[in-house]
Symmetry: C2
């Protein structure tokens, strides 16, 4: 019987996170203070994040130690297994070998707790009592709720309203872990009230929810804000995925030809891929692909500019691929991919041609997701189906070319609480969605070009 | 850092199931044909089950080979990890060591696919085209849906109506795996129509749903019926859980003082415990405990009699603890434990005092479940919270006694799609329920005492 899974012992769990800033061929543009146009200083961020995380955000150290209490919580579900999708390979009739890192085995069912646990820990030791955050599909909010419970912090989550209504079970997970969950836009904040005044039926967006959570946090000296993607320190914490995967592939005596992940804010994609991008920088021949939705095509169609991370323009200006901070994506089912921007690190790598990006329509991704579920059993999250659509594309290309390609991707989470979206797909209620060109013009108008060097 | 998980390689996966019939100190009473009062013969069961499974049902061979195609599907999620609940131990301040077998890592999220995959395989090689079954909470129906999809069989599931309404996501899982799911009682069968005529608002019960599924299967020569618990061959397939756990405990150099599982039909309890009961029969000092709901207290209050496995009295008479085949339990949230009877093997072991049974109210079990989720992260199925309540009881007893007891239990499934019941609990909507004594009198009247030897 062919081996399907590769486990690592807890003793083999990486003890350090990997920081790609130490290896970039050209340095990244700094985040700018919107008022001064100068690079933000650590103290500018102090009302929002604890200083220990700000230091990580700005660090260029290649390796950063994972604190023992974080490792202890990681050990509840990490190292996660590496699986081979043997049954999908057979169903596709491909000579490709398909491997996936199963991040769905964590208690909230996704990769998100890798950074949630770390952030809760750093806030705790900094003396913070409460965290405020936003969530799209609910993966992040539930992960942070669990992490806060584990370290004895209070947690308040602003959940994008369309997801709050579509995914009641995510809210219930947060409550089970003791957190408070509020649909956004809400009346709790100035930012929320402003949106509601303009559009009482606003479905919400990650950008709006971020504004609400930041406003909430900065108004309470015992609270801080926590972000589940986009920022450097978040991507840093996620690199444990790729570091484990490298050990696991090594045990198999294999190295991937293609490494893949879906990309919303960029953290699960980066978590798996950054350690492989490091290899690529050092000469390894590996293709790294980010899969995103056609309805929110940040990397494939959004310009690379300075833009705010949130709708209310309270964050620093981040250098990123963006559809504009006021962009409200169509209410597609992969809520976690409905973010107007993209992690600066991921955006930078695309410009450096160290990674590539492809966009998939949700009809295509759910088709791939159902094919996956029927072959491999596990039901993927709608976000994850974007990576699967890209995997199917690669595997079929390998079949045409008759190549024994090795494909590795991040199975970022399960879809147990997203089954309503499968219902919509299976009953033919989903529609295709292509972003109109005018939206790109709009993005250009609402963002800032990079200053000439 | 203390180790929390014990993995086994696929090469260490047991290659045989364990059949406790080979080791019982006294033989079990046979199932009886209700018309003749004689022990049922294999051919009596032929319209219901394929002959290869009937042979397994009646076998007294100690070890039964697991077919290679079944092992291949098992390998998608097995061997399952053994976890230590270190955070719960700390929260309880107990010197006890608490271990659990995490069966929630399977694609449908419970132990059920251990037998679903085996049954789908045996039906497939026997030439069957379609399986019909019933499901309570939906764990079994979703597991069989996946297994049928894997072996190319059609699948029709009669789901107890109260669960069908409470747990829409389970139905969606079945549909995602390509099965048809029908609320029971339904108009599709004589058995269903009869119940609906008496009570159009019947919440349904496992007994009723079983009657419908059997009637459906015997009416189609290309179809057979499949049962997710109770029968010998089902418990047999589940023993892979306990056999793996024994290897894992051995790796730790430990042997449990107490082994625990929740019990509805008895299969997850038996799956973990039977290999340990074997040790007990051979002199080992180990306490084996089945945890059940006070609202359906089959083992703790139901008489040990001959009774039908279903409401319409179409099955053989099974020697079991039972509340009567016409018993309709209160609509508690642990749908998988709402069965009027109990596996004959488990019932027999209780009579032989090789195991003991305890009943817990759902308020108690959800309290334990939330405590678990907040300490260990993973949210347990409502069924599983019964085992956890018993674990908490044992751990606190160990604390009082100052004993370093080793507790092992079966974490039979996750509660991702049962979050509505957590919501009911957290918002104070659940009530206590104690079965009135009259129900026991009723059970005695509707069942048959064992014939004098």
């Amino acid at each position: 019987m062919e081996q399907i899974k590769v486990f690592l012992d807890e003793s083999e769990m990486p003890r350090q996170w990997y920081n790609i800033l130490a290896d970039l061929p050209t340095p990244m543009r700094p985040p700018l203070h919107p008022a001064t146009g100068e690079p933000v200083k650590p103290e500018d961020l102090a009302p929002v994040f604890p200083m220990n995380l700000i230091e990580q955000e700005m660090s260029t150290d290649r390796w950063i130690e994972i604190p023992e209490p974080v490792l202890e919580k990681y050990a509840i579900w990490r190292p996660t297994p590496l699986y081979r999708a043997r049954n999908l390979e057979k169903a596709l009739g491909t000579p490709a070998k398909i491997f996936y890192k199963n991040e769905g085995v964590s208690p909230p069912g996704s990769h998100k707790p890798n950074t949630a646990v770390a952030q809760a820990y750093y806030n705790k030791i900094f003396g913070i009592k409460r965290l405020a955050t936003e969530t799209g599909a609910g993966q992040w909010g539930s992960a942070l709720s669990m992490a806060c419970q584990m370290f004895g912090l209070e947690c308040r989550v602003y959940m994008v309203k369309v997801s709050y209504n579509q995914k009641p079970y995510r809210r219930l997970m947060m409550q089970t872990w003791g957190a408070e969950c509020i649909p956004s836009p809400s009346n709790r904040t100035e930012a929320g009230r402003k949106i509601l005044a303009q559009d009482p039926d606003s479905p919400g967006s990650l950008g709006i929810a971020i504004s609400e959570a930041i406003e909430d946090a900065v108004g309470d000296p015992e609270a801080r804000y926590s972000l589940g993607s986009v920022l450097n320190h978040v991507l840093l914490h996620q690199t444990i995925i790729g570091l484990e995967a490298q050990k696991q592939m090594e045990k198999l005596g294999l190295y991937p030809d293609v490494v893949l992940g879906c990309a919303g804010g960029g953290s699960n994609f980066a978590g798996l891929c950054l350690p492989f991008v490091r290899d690529k920088i050092h000469g390894k021949d590996v293709t790294v692909v980010a899969a995103e939705p056609t309805s929110c095509p940040t990397l494939t169609r959004g310009p690379f500019r300075y833009d705010f991370g949130d709708t209310a323009m309270t964050t620093p200006l981040l250098p990123m691929h963006t559809l504009g901070h006021d962009f409200v994506p169509a209410p597609i089912h992969a809520g976690g991919l409905r973010y107007h921007g993209m992690a600066p690190i991921v955006s930078h790598l695309l410009e450096e041609r160290l990674i590539e990006a492809r966009a998939f329509d949700q009809i295509e991704t759910f088709t791939a997701g159902v094919q996956w579920a029927r072959a491999e059993g596990f039901i993927p999250a709608p976000e994850t189906t974007h990576a699967i659509a890209a995997v199917v594309q690669e595997a079929l290309r390998a079949k045409e070319e008759g190549k024994e390609k090795v494909i590795l991707f991040n199975w970022s989470g399960h879809g147990y609480v997203d089954l309503a979206s499968y219902d919509a797909f299976l009953s033919g209620k989903l529609t295709r969605y292509e972003l109109p060109d005018e939206e790109i013009q709009r993005a250009l108008a609402s963002t800032e070009a990079f200053p000439k060097p």
